[in-house]
């Protein structure tokens, strides 16, 4: 019983729920502020994403006549719930360890796919042609980046499993425990292809500029989100904020979970890693380059990240 209560608390309070929501929105604020500074603008206040979400709460929600109403309104809810669960799966070194029943890399991979699927469903349910374009682009992009992600996860799992004397382990706590003993995978040359592939993967999963093709504002008017307004749109904003926390902390858990033993210090180090990972992989990237076309992104992912991921898997299995 206490175990279930702990899981519930992890989903709703820390590190999921309230904590992840505040953190995700704050990260978005840092992202916008840093991007503005890189363009030598002043930029919005750090709390801007909070203002946005509160503002959207005051707006009216409209449902298009051609939309399938229930799917249109409840799809984002499914997305938010799935990322809330996903946040509770990712351990924070020295601070939070998920219950063994849920702390599994494979479960996390499945939960991570749901926001993308929700976006596809929402786009097609809205009945808008732009939503349909967003749907097809999101699907192509997911096909392109999910393959490398699975291979990266497999490489990490096999490396850990072999290191611990077995064959493969998908338990995130074991992955972190192994790295804390033997050094982070970031400093392990065998894992470098996987690290590089992950660096290509996470901007795409987060829908950041070179890969924000499904939601391209200037081309398809935010595609799947085009018809959304008011509180339901706020749910999408919340979903993407939470997803940012999940994906970045997954990267930290898989490749650089080193941390001091102290609880507070561990949290601070984790936060610093989170911000650094975001500023490099999200902010600097989206300021520096423009949007790819969907075919360019597709071939890019099936060329480099997939190659790197296959290479890392091969190297891990051989070594």
């Amino acid at each position: 019983m206490s175990n279930q209560l702990a899981i519930l608390l992890a989903v709703l309070l820390f590190p999921g729920g309230v904590f992840a929501l505040v953190l995700g929105l704050a990260l978005k604020g840092v992202d916008r502020r840093v991007a503005a500074r890189l363009q030598s603008r002043i930029g919005p206040p750090l709390a801007q994403p909070f203002f946005d979400v509160i503002k959207l709460g005051f707006k009216r929600t409209t449902v298009p006549e051609v939309a399938s109403q229930n799917v249109f309104l409840y799809a984002p809810l499914v997305g938010v719930i799935s990322v809330l669960l996903a946040v509770a799966l990712v351990p924070i070194t020295g601070v939070y360890t998920p219950a063994p029943a849920i702390g599994n890399l494979l479960v996390l991979l499945y939960l991570l796919m749901i926001p993308g699927i929700v976006l596809m469903i929402a786009g097609s349910a809205s009945g808008s042609p732009y939503g349909a374009i967003g749907f097809s682009r999101e699907m192509a992009l997911m096909i392109a980046y999910e393959g490398p992600l699975v291979l990266i996860a497999a490489a990490v799992a096999i490396r850990t499993g072999v290191g611990m004397g077995g064959w493969v382990t998908f338990s995130l706590s074991d992955i972190i425990a192994y790295q804390r003993e033997h050094g982070s995978f970031l400093f392990d040359p065998v894992m470098w292809p996987a690290v590089a592939a992950f660096c290509c993967f996470y901007p795409a999963n987060l829908g950041i500029v070179p890969f924000d093709i499904p939601e391209a504002e200037t081309e398809v008017l935010e595609g799947p989100l085009l018809e959304y307004s008011g509180p339901v749109l706020a749910l999408f904003k919340v979903m993407s904020a939470l997803k940012k926390v999940v994906v970045l902390s997954l990267g930290i858990a898989m490749f650089l979970p080193f941390a001091p033993d102290n609880w507070a210090l561990g949290l601070i180090v984790w936060l610093i890693k989170l911000v650094v990972l975001m500023v490099i992989g999200v902010t600097a990237l989206r300021v520096a380059i423009g949007r790819m076309r969907i075919d360019q992104a597709f071939t890019f992912f099936l060329k480099w990240p997939l190659l790197l991921a296959v290479a890392s898997l091969a190297v891990v299995v051989v070594v």
């Binding site: 503005a36 946005d52 503002k55 005051f58 959304y228 008011g230």
Partner: protein, 145 residues
């Protein structure tokens, strides 16, 4: 009282802008979409963000004299913007038709068709004026929330 007025105050710090080109010559649009966003006049300081979809918009910036051809599209687009919304007419064209006045093809002044809250005259208006207009629109918006 207590919490709710506070939230309204917070909400007005996030005005999302949407541009409607009602037959403008693009002069005002360049000022809105480009010049108002450059480092010197960064409109994002006010929390503004240009959005691609009318359904996300709070403040509508209309430029141009409303030509006959574009009228229906503009009115439909305007209806799609969820309440509460504030309209800012940018440039002199929405007020009088500007250099296009007395043409058989324009329907200016635009406030015969759409309720205009703030006028920002000029041909084109300076970016400071556009930002001042947006700031004024935010005040009006606060009362409507």
């Amino acid at each position: 009282m207590g919490l709710i007025p506070d939230f309204k105050k917070i909400a007005t710090r996030s005005p999302w802008l949407y541009r409607i080109n009602a037959g403008s010559c693009n002069g005002c649009d360049v000022e809105m979409a480009v010049t108002a966003l450059i480092p010197r006049y960064d409109v994002e300081r006010l929390g503004c963000q240009y959005c691609g979809s009318p359904k996300h918009a709070d403040i509508v910036l209309i430029s141009g004299p409303l030509t006959v051809r574009v009228k229906d599209a503009v009115l439909r687009l305007y209806d799609e913007i969820p309440d509460p919304k504030v309209t800012v007419a940018v440039g002199v064209c929405p007020i009088s038709g500007g250099i296009f006045r007395e043409s058989y093809a324009v329907l200016a002044p635009i406030d015969q068709y759409i309720p205009v809250d703030v006028n920002v005259p000029g041909c084109p208006p300076r970016p400071q004026a556009i930002i001042a207009g947006v700031a004024k629109a935010i005040d009006i918006w606060r009362e409507r929330l």
